[in-house]
């Protein structure tokens, strides 16, 4: 078999192998808060002012967000409000859940638990039920369930990771509900990694002070999502797929009372009337902020932020983007795909072209990414110029994956990190024998829609849970807190929505908020060149696009 690595990279691997014996068992000093700040200020993409602008309209007017996000918020409705007939409802439900990923499915299940019959719930989703970032989460889920750990210790880790800008009430909810969430999963049949006595196997994640990362091999998100979806199927909760929401519906009292769906295949719209609505549309990875590749699924286009914002919900912390330090940088086919933090949690170290260990493997993600970018940037850019260059011009850092088997025994990588092993094996790379090349990849939306501890947004009748919401993680989420987040706040939003539905009195359905937003855009001088939500990223070839004509 031909070597998957070109000779230039193979030479560098020789140096990685040469330094490996000295690096084994060495844990570098963690950075102080001041050193962290320095790395972030100089090298993290978030700290470049030219990447953002202040919003021109809306409830969070004046807040800085990435240009790619501002372009969608300063955009006109996708569907002309005057051309939608709200008089006839195609679906009449108690609870509408927008988004069929982890957060949405959890919300639907708990709305059902809280007394809403399955048939009075509807999950509307853009792609298939389960197609989501939840499905792709690999490394784990945090919960303070060990004797040496506690929710208060977890609380401090979350705040420190988020640079102390997190909403205290939301962090408290996150850490307090965590063990209960895992107990619920156990009862639903999620197969967590355990020892023969049933003790959870837990390791460190970046920025954790206790080993509280629970996993199901490196398919943790897939295992949880599969079980949640199967449970929803078993209960008969209706789902309508390939039907993204293109506008929320509000009433004369300013409440959200449903949504307009759009069938992506027949291109017809339909109207859902709902007593309560849960937004669980996920994040923004597919906006490719600052040109970064992404680890996110195809539908992660920030639709929910656009919908909620137009309806009057405030947004927060959207100036902060999470770049996961270890996205694949080689081979070209898998650039941007995630290599779970669990690989570093199990002992693999990041090393430069010379095989030098240059940073603690488990700093919080933003710091670790900043350190990777510093190592790869040229000295003229203030960096160290010690990245590894690929034949297509990508630059990256070696993740010394063979260390996993050296530490834990031969066969561990293949057994416990089988998703990553398989991803590389398809391209003739054995990560238990050779290191793999990585570079930060756009991974998570740290901020989002403002919510309270019940998942209620600032708009009556509209609840939110999961990546679409903000405040929980402040300016930077720690590993293992997103699977936790969608479970905790999906559950809280589902229960709160059920309670709301049991007492709310929806008024006359309108699209007034969209018309008002349009007027605000016009008043602010925003030209009518962009429409939102964007629904799908555009990856078609330029040559084809230049010749596309809409004929039938």
């Amino acid at each position: 078999m031909a070597d998957a690595y070109p000779s230039s990279m193979r030479e560098s691997i020789g140096r990685v192998e040469a330094t490996r014996p000295q690096r084994m068992g060495v844990e570098p000093q963690r950075l102080s808060l001041e050193e962290r700040r320095e790395v972030l200020d100089q090298f993290h993409p978030d700290y470049k002012e030219e990447g953002k602008r202040a919003l021109a309209v809306g409830p969070s007017k004046g807040e800085l967000v990435p240009h790619e996000m501002a372009d969608l918020l300063e955009a006109y409705p996708l569907i002309d409000p005057d051309r939608v007939d709200l008089g006839q409802a195609d679906y009449e439900v108690d609870v509408l859940v927008i988004g069929g990923g982890g957060g949405g499915t959890v919300a639907a299940l708990w709305a059902n638990e809280a007394g809403i019959p399955a048939g009075r719930i509807l999950i509307a989703t853009k792609l298939r039920h389960g197609d989501s970032n939840s499905m792709m989460a690999q490394g784990g889920i945090q919960a303070a369930d060990k004797e040496n750990d506690s929710p208060p210790i977890h609380y401090l880790d979350v705040q420190g990771g988020g640079h102390f800008g997190n909403d205290p009430e939301l962090v408290r909810a996150l850490v307090s509900d965590a063990p209960e969430v895992l107990r619920w999963h156990e009862k639903l049949g999620v197969m967590y990694d355990k020892d023969p006595e049933g003790r959870m196997l837990t390791i460190h994640g970046g920025g954790t002070s206790r080993k509280r990362m629970h996993s199901a091999k490196d398919y943790t998100g897939m295992e949880i999502m599969r079980v949640l979806r199967d449970e929803a199927l078993g209960r008969g909760i209706p789902t309508v797929e390939f039907s993204p929401v293109v506008e929320l519906i509000s009433d004369d009292k300013g409440q959200v009372v449903g949504a307009v769906l759009w069938n992506m295949e027949t291109e017809e719209y339909s109207v859902v009337r709902a007593k309560a609505t849960v937004l669980a549309t996920g994040g923004w990875g597919r906006l490719h902020i600052q040109g970064f590749p992404t680890s996110n699924h195809y539908g992660a286009t920030a639709d929910g932020l656009v919908l909620a914002y137009r309806a009057g919900a405030g947004l927060r912390d959207l100036d902060s983007v999470q770049y996961h330090p270890t996205g694949a940088a080689f081979p070209e086919q898998i650039v941007g795909l995630l290599i779970t933090e669990k690989v570093r949690g199990m002992g693999a170290q990041p090393v430069n072209v010379e095989g030098e260990l240059f940073v603690h493997p488990l700093e919080p993600r933003d710091v670790e990414s900043g350190a990777f970018i510093r190592e790869c940037s040229s000295p003229e850019q203030g960096g160290r110029g010690r990245g590894v260059v690929t034949p297509t011009g990508m630059i990256g850092i070696w993740l010394d994956t063979p260390m996993v088997d050296l530490i834990h025994g031969q066969g561990t990588f293949n057994r416990e990190l089988s998703a990553i092993w398989r991803m590389y094996a398809r391209f003739d790379i054995d990560p238990s024998a050779d290191p793999v090349l990585t570079y930060p990849t756009l991974h998570y939306q740290n901020g989002g829609v403002v919510i309270d501890a019940d998942g209620a947004t600032q708009v009556p009748g509209l609840f939110a849970g999961g990546e679409v919401s903000g405040g929980i993680h402040g300016k930077n989420r720690l590993m293992g807190n997103s699977l936790l987040d969608f479970n905790v706040f999906g559950r809280r939003a589902g229960i709160a929505a059920a309670k709301w539905a049991q007492r709310s009195k929806p008024g006359k359905p309108t699209l007034e908020h969209a018309l008002r937003y349009t007027q605000d855009l016009q008043a602010a001088g925003v030209e009518e060149v962009r429409k939102a939500p964007s629904l799908l990223p555009e990856y078609r070839g330029k040559k084809t696009l230049a010749r596309v004509v809409d004929l039938i």
């Binding site: 102390f164 049949g189 197969m191 398919y219 990856y539 078609r540």
Partner: protein, 227 residues
């Protein structure tokens, strides 16, 4: 760079397109001009949305794999499967009696397995699908759970099975029953849930929640990190 691109020819649903060499099947389709709605999901090999059937020149065999994880080859004939209409048996974990034969009760067609191994050959994850179906026949739930664990539920096994077994739903059933009833439960987890419910940490959390930023920073600096 674009001037030097090596191009290959692929046939997407029978029609020829020139695309750069080295792309995944999914990216090759997009390069050719398809704006995918079906047959695309996570793009990382986890969701099973992009089950794809293909043929190579000079080879009559039909192969199956995930479009997002497979490199397009010259003269490849490609078609995607938009949806798998296989049935999930109507069962609820809360109502299930996890007896020996519950798999056969819900999925009696498992008994029709002819051990042809077509399912394993169709599996993009290269799982031993037939082996777990055989384990299901024996009632060995732990084995089904373990062998089926990496399943992305793309449905290719079910689409090719001559005995009309829906392997991936059988695997899901076995894993949930194993996780809920057969695997040992975590005692420390149940204990922690009880502590939280009885308010053990309330006071400490109240204090943390009311701390000023400076106090929080100080508490964070002082925290010890488990080795």
């Amino acid at each position: 760079m674009s001037a030097e691109l090596e191009m290959i020819r692929v046939y997407i649903m029978g029609r020829a397109y020139e695309v750069p060499a080295g792309l995944t099947i999914m990216k090759a389709m997009e390069y050719a001009g398809y704006r995918l709605v079906r047959g695309v999901g996570c793009r990382g090999g986890f969701c099973g949305a992009c089950a794809t059937v293909f043929r190579r020149p000079g080879d009559y065999k039909l192969y199956a794999d995930l479009a997002c994880q497979t490199t397009a080859e010259d003269e490849m004939y490609i078609a995607q499967i938009p949806s798998v209409p296989a049935e999930r048996a109507p069962w609820k974990l809360s109502e299930l009696e996890p007896e020996e034969n519950f798999i056969l009760a819900l999925y009696p067609e498992v008994a029709r397995c002819v051990a042809c191994n077509t399912c394993s050959r169709a599996c993009p994850q290269e799982l031993e699908v037939m082996d777990y179906i055989q384990a299901a026949l024996r009632g060995d739930i732990a084995q089904v759970a373990e062998l089926s664990f990496d399943c992305v539920q793309c449905g290719l096994c079910a689409m090719r099975c001559p005995a009309e077994i829906v392997h991936y739903h059988v695997g899901q059933l076995a894993r949930r029953v194993y996780g809920a009833y057969r695997a040992p439960q975590a005692g420390h987890l149940a204990a922690r849930v009880e502590e939280i419910e009885s308010g053990t940490f309330d006071q400490e959390l109240d204090t943390l929640q009311q701390m000023s930023r400076d106090e929080l920073v100080e508490a964070y600096r002082k925290r010890d990190v488990e080795k």
